[in-house]
Amino acid sequence: MEAFRPQVDFIARHRVAAVVVFLSLFPLLVPYQALAVNILIFGLYAMGFNILFGYTGMLSFGHAAFLGTGSYGAGIAIVHLGWPWYVAIATGVAAATAVGMVVGFLAIRARGIYFAMVTLALAQCVYYVFFQAETYTGGENGLRGVEVGVIDLFGWRLDFVDPTVKYYVVLAFVAFALWFVSRVLGSPFGAVIETVRENERRAQACGYDVARTKLVAFVISAALCGLAGTLRALHLSIVPIDSLHYLTSGLVVMMCLLGGMGTFFGPFVGAATLLLIEETFTNLTRHWQLITGVVFMACVLFFPRGIWGSILHWIRREGR
């Protein structure tokens, strides 16, 4: 690896561009486009989650609340209000951010497993609210008819039904999110959230208001997961109620751990791995979840840093 040191450093310095280039070519590797779009969206969801879990050190079991609120926010804006798609995205993100502020405010007082339990309980409340508000959300049938046929970009008309077009439109949002996350992680605030993960007492003694820092990280994380949710609504043309299900909260924990928590690209690796396993084995066996479970356990036992985390560790160690 020593020979490739300059190249590795170059990629690390331009991580956003590197990931965007990779994701631009990614559809060539995947069996079909809808799956590729799914991987993008769940990668974004996991990246948002990773800010809280991997960088701030807080394990939430309720992040489906933000994915789901983003989806329903965008869906309701399109179906019931007839708003244009870009306003719908902004609406979904704003709604997820608002829910993130409330959940975050209530949850950050708890630590560790208690924090996880509080987020889980609050996410169940969010599930219940959307489930009951049938008139707007379609209840257990989900919200149907989130149709975005043509995207009008300053007179440049894009056919959003075409899977390839859809992929690159979603990628544009993901690229923006990657840039934003990279800026946040590289910012002074990004340094502070790591001190909270490393040692709360010391961070406090250094003059940092840990509760507020956690809340800001929580809200940024919720907003990004909300963005993933809005894109998912547009992608599926429906908002399934399972967007808010606790299994969806659990899924993102698995994706993050599998890919590598606290790494920039790990969430995408984790999302791709899990979704590809699901895709490959659902057609072969009803017990595909068993395979997911085995892969996940093998990873936790033998590669606790996750797939991407282990690769990075190996590159860095070789480089010394």
């Binding site: 800026r183 946040v184 590289g186 910012s187 002074p188 605030f189 990004g190 340094a191 502070v192 790591e194 001190t195 490393e198 040692n199 007492r201 010391r202 961070a203 406090q204 003694a205 250094c206 003059g207 940092y208 208001d209 840990v210 507020r212 820092t213 800001v216 940024i220």
Partner: protein, 248 residues
């Protein structure tokens, strides 16, 4: 006469029904080196925690530069210029030694800034290097704090405390677990630091502090047993009784 930088008035601390600190009143003058001594379990750390913001005392007040700061949140202390090092090493283990100190230096300038790059605060990186030099860790700047030897981590702990440019530096047993040579180095460092600011040092080994402090405060069973110059304290019969058998 200038007013004291810090005053504790009738500080008491109860853990359940156990009184770890009983009505302690002391004040500390500016730019002096004071030591709080006493046998294990005397209540030194409890006193230290109460005046450094880890918890609010059960009763009594803490006055800093004439202001009542009793019960202020922990993070407010560093911003007011009161820094501390912990008895049990408390650093950021996975971050490099340099990043440990750099992020501590950043506190006054950028706490919630999410969009400028860290590199734009380049002078903070230089300041971190200067502080690492002060505590003798310049050579270890790239190593994760977890990889440092115990004595080095104690030094890093001091550098972290210095990062907020404290006017008052509180140290809880900074030499805990150090070798005799490391202890001498640490004591020399503390004397140098005390030349420019107020330092309050908690120590249970009486001998270590007698030669370097202007002021010695003795706690015993949560009570103030003696308070004065090292000579006065050494001559105190109560103190002699508590430290029976030791060469005071």
């Amino acid at each position: 006469m200038t007013p004291p930088i810090l005053a504790a008035e009738n500080l008491s601390m109860a853990f359940g029904r156990f009184l770890a600190l009983k009505n302690v009143t002391v004040s500390f003058d500016r730019n002096t080196l004071a030591a709080i001594i006493g046998p294990n379990g005397a209540g030194k750390s409890t006193f230290f925690n109460a005046i450094s913001g880890a918890f609010a005392p059960s009763s009594g007040r803490v006055i800093y530069e004439g202001r009542d700061i009793t019960g202020s949140p922990q993070h407010a202390f560093a911003r007011m210029g009161i820094a501390k090092s912990f008895q049990i090493t408390n650093v950021f283990p996975q971050l490099t030694t340099h990043e440990n100190v750099r992020v501590a230096c950043q506190m006054r300038r950028a706490r919630f800034d999410i969009l400028t790059p860290r590199e734009s605060l380049g002078d903070l990186s230089d300041k971190a290097d200067r502080l690492l030099g002060t505590v003798g860790l310049a050579g270890a700047r790239k190593r994760p704090a977890a990889d440092l030897a115990h004595g080095q981590q104690r030094g890093l702990e001091i550098a972290l405390a210095l990062a907020c440019d404290p006017k008052l530096l509180l140290l809880d047993e900074p030499t805990a677990g150090m070798s005799p040579e490391e202890t001498v180095g640490m004591m020399n460092l503390i004397v140098r630091l005390a030349a420019e600011r107020t330092v309050i040092l908690v120590e249970h080994k009486m001998k270590l502090v007698m030669g370097i402090c202007q002021r010695v405060i003795v706690l015993h069973h949560g009570e103030l047993l003696a308070d004065g110059s090292p000579e006065e304290v050494r001559a105190n019969t109560e103190v002699r009784r508590v430290y029976l058998g030791q060469n005071v």
